[in-house]
Amino acid sequence: MRILKLVFVIFFCATAAAPFISSKLAANAKKEIVPLPAQDPSQFVGNSSCAECHAEQVARLAPTAHHKAKADKASASAQSCESCHGGAKVHLEFHLTAQKLIKEGKDAEAEALQNDETKAKNASMIAFDKLTATQINASCMQCHSQMKEHAVWRGNKHEKAKLSCLDCHSMHHSPAAPTADSKLFATAQAEGKLLKRRTEADTCFQCHGDVRKAQFQRSTHLFRNENREHQLSCSSCHEAHGSIGEKLMRTGSINETCYQCHTEKRGPFLYEHSPVRESCANCHKSHGSNNTALLNARAPMLCQQCHIQGRHQTVAGYSNSAFTMNRSCSTCHAAVHGSNHPSGINLQR
């Protein structure tokens, strides 16, 4: 154990000190991280020019925040398409020239122009399917860095998994976008978030497929109505962009997240059940469970993981025993989350 501690301290100190003694190396890294071309207003041509060739994409973008926000903004972000894809002046000139040549019957010259790799490269726009996750995120952060949740994006699990904004959001093809066919009726949670999937849960299930089964389990937090729409969304508890809590919880602890809806369990109580106060997850599976009330194990086995003493709960028992049937231990110990009764020391009142 001492060796483990020593390794930890050395590792921690070395990591902390490293940036200060290798500033040159770090400076090189900076160039790697933000490779997007600088926004040059002199290169902007406006959305209407883009729409001449990319009508569908522009039309899809038009009703979304990414187009509409331009009306209130100046400079780069006022350009809509070019805010993300870069100034299109060279791109436009290149393709107009090529089209003009074709119109004039100069096909060979047009072909030569299009095959000129240098010119074609200079005329190319920023294509997001060619960018790394870091590059994509840097582009989005030009406008979205002001959201407080994004402050802790760096260093969180989703960033580490090299996720980009476009893994969950789609600027042009979101089924939950305001342009979407109303038959699909994106759920309220997905509204306005330009998610890649119809619902927030479906978006998260892309990677967290193991959670999907929870919605069909005997007890679940992924409540659905008869139209398969969720009553609670993942973002009711988690903040996917980063948070100060563990497991990307919206609050500082698991319990405080649960108290958002189960405030009656916040207390403090006269008699508390210590493991309950420390973490609801000691007894509950938050997404779904084969047992009632999202319990980790069936009662009385759940309680027997921590309790032996007493003249009744220590038995192996049988399936039709009064201690096993109905709500098992909590048939009598109903105040397992805490009791404020002067006679509630055994959490029975």
Partner: protein
């Protein structure tokens, strides 16, 4: 009356829609520069002049306050109205509507009103689903991008515990459950042998009740950007929870028999009345620049329980009686009226300051520091309402049923929470990145430790002054959890990363078995991401948690070790991958394994293993066509080492070990597509889930003769759930504005659970012969399997 009540919400919703429609009625034909240019582009190349004009238009629309299109000019409406019929069969089919309401008859299924003019930064939408149903939901969202946004959301969520329960209790005053005196007197005066007949007679004529809690949540949020860098946000949350749910109370008596000790069990299940309010208000402000930002939030939260205590009649006693104690006659649970302290009112004030700063060399420091102050000072209820109890140590002139007999009138509960979270992330050269993370969560319970002279034990019928020699005193738990981690990520090549991390987690606790634990975790992860075609990761973590000293105390068996504090070795491995054969066709999978080994030299939970995997296949082909299939399996297993108490406590011959294994398999598949050129729309899904819990128990030794009779291991049947769901939505678009659709939902559900299958309001016949359950009266709150068919037809109007 009932219909009128049901119609009320619908009426208000319709009123709101009419109002919205009138406000959002078209004032002028839509003008859309972008769309117009898109159309013109179809006719060929635009001239330079046209382009200049269009650019001018763009510039004009970019000027605030000069929008050519207004919020009212592009309003779109969609309504779905229809009818629905449901047929549910099954003995106790309440699970079908456990967390929803499937309404029958006329149905206002959903609506959507959206005004979203393309060249205006303003937007408005009002969305609703299931108006007048218990699970109705509305969203009102409007604002001006970049300036302000107002969101109001209302939702209802029912929780149906059971329909078809039986209860002898009635209530004319909130918080007071009564039983007719005649029933109490009859059951008190009936000889034990005749009690079952008498109870059954009363129960059979008791009314059927539904136990359901409804939750209604209203959220309102306002965000305003005061400047390009400075914003404020306000949030208000109001939750109401009301209805009734089951609440148990009971005790037991141990009885010696020739075949070993057994129990008399006494229990009463009550329909607890629920009436909660929770109000929460948050105000915050954020100031953000390119390289740094700071945020401040204040949150006030108030929980109000309008029924702070529950008094209830004991069906088996009309007069109070004191039990004779553990060595005497078996007469526990002998109160005529009992009292429960329900969840007390509480409030909290929270402050959070967070922010980040970008440092030189592309490093970033982000921190959050928060304080919360939780307070609770509800008046205590008396020790008991059983006036026959002779209590000792009470102040002179007070009785056990008097709150003046208590050492304090209320708890004055105070918990202070302090959290801090710091993240430092920086590149280390061209190929390395480092993340450092430190977090503290301090829960400091400043509540008074109150020494009580005793408490009303054994079903509020006997004054007990200590438990195993320990005085009756509360022990406010205080704990501090700290984690510090360091992570280095090596970018081996553009798509490939290899990371190493080390984490320390320390707990300090007061009033628990272990004062301090340290856990060290070492892990590594290999992740690969090649554009969007192939990505995956493999990780492994090993943890070692060690308690400094384990003090079992006097209340628990000295060889028991609680799993959340004891020595633990953890292995945790995960695999995750995604592969896109083409932009349309993708395959993804996950696999996870976690094993916790606790100190197997002791009793309690000794091993926990969790494993599972999933495979997902997704095809998103032509416009609006999606096809998916997925399968997942999860397996949980735990092993307990236990021991039964004997007359000479805890002889090792009375050991018993139990394995519990949980498996859940689920399959889902579905298709969403147009069958005939934007006319016939199909949305079809199927899901299946199978859950199975298996228990196996063994006695490593031979239980002693003077043990409790069920110290021996008996077989348990498997507990199984089977769930199928077929969900079909087929609609035909007759015209651009009108569609006719059919919906069908088929849901068979099977439940085999020994804990519920033999249950009834008076379940003594289900108990083994040697277990005396003559005074065991429940609500029979449960559900069983069902077969449900719901078919509906709807008309959709849109404009």
């Amino acid at each position: 009356m009932k219909i009128t009540q049901m119609m009320k919400p619908s009426f208000y919703v319709l009123l709101l829609i009419v109002f919205t429609c009138s406000v959002a009625a078209p004032a002028q034909p839509p003008t859309d520069g972008t769309s117009a240019s898109a159309v013109s582009s179809k006719n060929g190349e635009a001239t330079e002049k046209e382009k200049k004009e269009e650019k001018t238009t763009d510039k004009n629309t970019a000027t605030p306050g000069q929008d050519k299109t207004t919020i009212t000019s592009q309003t779109k409406f969609t309504f779905e109205l229809g009818g629905q019929f449901t047929n549910v069969t099954g003995v106790r089919p309440s699970r079908y509507e456990e967390f929803r309401q499937v309404r029958e008859g006329f149905l206002f299924r959903r609506f959507r009103i959206v005004a979203n003019p393309e060249d205006s930064p303003t937007f408005f939408k009002l969305i609703g689903r299931g108006p007048s149903e218990l699970d109705q939901r509305y969203l009102l969202d409007f604002g001006r991008y970049g300036r302000f946004r107002t969101t109001v959301e209302y939702s209802g969520l029912p929780h149906l515990y059971s329909a078809g329960s039986r209860s002898l209790f009635g209530s004319s005053t909130p918080g007071v459950l009564t039983i007719p005196d005649q029933i109490q007197q009859t059951l008190q005066n009936t000889a034990s042998a005749d009690l079952p007949t008498a109870v059954r007679s009363f129960v059979s004529s008791a009314p059927l009740v539904s136990l359901r809690v409804k939750r209604q949540t209203l959220k309102a949020e306002q965000r305003i950007n005061l400047t390009d860098h400075w914003s404020v946000h306000l949030r208000y949350l109001n939750q109401r929870k009301f209805g009734s749910k089951p609440l148990g109370t009971g005790t037991y008596e141990r009885v010696g028999t020739a075949n070993g000790d057994t129990f008399r069990v006494l229990a009463i299940e009550l329909p607890e009345q629920v009436n909660y309010r929770h109000n929460q208000f948050t105000a915050g402000t954020t100031y953000a620049r390119e390289k740094w930002a700071i945020n401040f939030d204040y949150t006030y939260s108030k929980f109000d329980n309008r029924i702070s205590s529950l008094t209830f009649d004991n069906p088996f006693r009309a007069t109070d009686l004191q039990a004779t104690g553990s060595g005497g006659v078996f007469d526990r649970g002998a109160f005529s009226r009992g009292i429960f302290a329900l969840a007390p009112d509480n409030e909290s004030n929270s402050f959070l300051i967070s922010g980040f700063i970008d440092l030189p060399n592309d490093a970033r420091w982000a921190s959050a520091v928060g304080w919360s102050f939780w307070r609770q000072n509800d008046s205590f209820v008396p020790y008991t309402m059983n006036s026959a109890i002779v209590a000792t140590g009470l102040p002179t002139g007070t009785s056990v049923t008097d709150t003046k007999a208590l050492p304090r009138p209320s708890l004055e509960g105070a918990v202070d929470i302090f959290t801090q979270d710091h993240v430092f992330t920086t590149p280390l050269g061209k190929h390395w990145t480092a993340n450092l993370h430190y977090r503290t969560y301090l829960n400091e319970n400043k509540t008074h430790e109150i020494l009580f002279p005793g408490y009303a034990a054994y079903g509020e019928s006997y004054w007990r002054t200590n438990i195993s020699g320990k005085p009756i005193e509360n022990e406010p738990l205080t704990f501090r959890r700290q984690t510090a981690s360091a992570e280095a990520i090596w970018n081996i090549s553009k798509p490939l990363d290899w990371s190493f991390d080390y984490k320390w987690e320390g707990w300090n606790r007061r009033h628990r078995q272990v004062g301090r634990t340290n856990e060290y975790t070492f892990g590594t992860e290999l992740s690969y991401r090649h554009s969007n075609a192939l990505s995956g990761k493999v990780d492994y973590h090993y943890s070692d948690r060690t308690p400094q000293v384990y003090d079992p105390g006097v209340l628990e068996y000295k060889l028991l070790r609680m799993f959340d504090q004891t020595k633990r070795l953890r292995h945790n491995a995960n695999v995750q991958w995604q592969y896109h054969f083409s932009p349309e066709f993708g395959l993804a999978g996950t696999f996870g394994y976690r094993s916790d080994d606790f100190d197997q030299n002791f009793f309690g939970l000794s091993k926990y293993v969790q494993g599972g995997g999933s495979v997902d296949l997704l095809y998103t082909g032509m416009e609006n066509t999606t096809l998916y299939a997925n399968y997942s399996r999860d397996r949980y297993s735990s092993t307990l080492q236990q021991i039964s108490k004997t007359a000479v406590p805890f002889d090792l011959n009375n050991r018993w070990n139990r394995d519990e294994r949980d498996i859940v398999d689920s399959v889902g598949t579905g298709v969403t597509t147009y069958l005939a050129k934007e006319k016939l729309f199909l949305d079809l899904h199927y899901a299946f889930a199978f859950g199975n819990t298996r228990l196996s128990t063994v006695n490593p030794g031979t239980p002693l003769a003077n043990s409790v009779i069920n110290a021996k291991a008996f077989p348990f049947p498997d507990a199984k759930t089977r769930f199928h769901e077929v969900n079909l939505d087929l609609s035909y678009q007759f015209s651009p504005n009108v569609a006719l659709g059919v919906r069908y939902l088929y849901e068979p559900y099977r439940l085999n659970d020994y804990a519920w299958d033999g249950l009834s309001p008076y379940p003594m016949d289900a108990f083994p012969a040697e277990q005396d359950g003559r005074r065991f009266l429940l609500l029979d709150s449960r559900y069983s399997g069902h077969n449900a068919n719901t078919i509906g037809i709807y008309l959709r109007f849109s404009r």
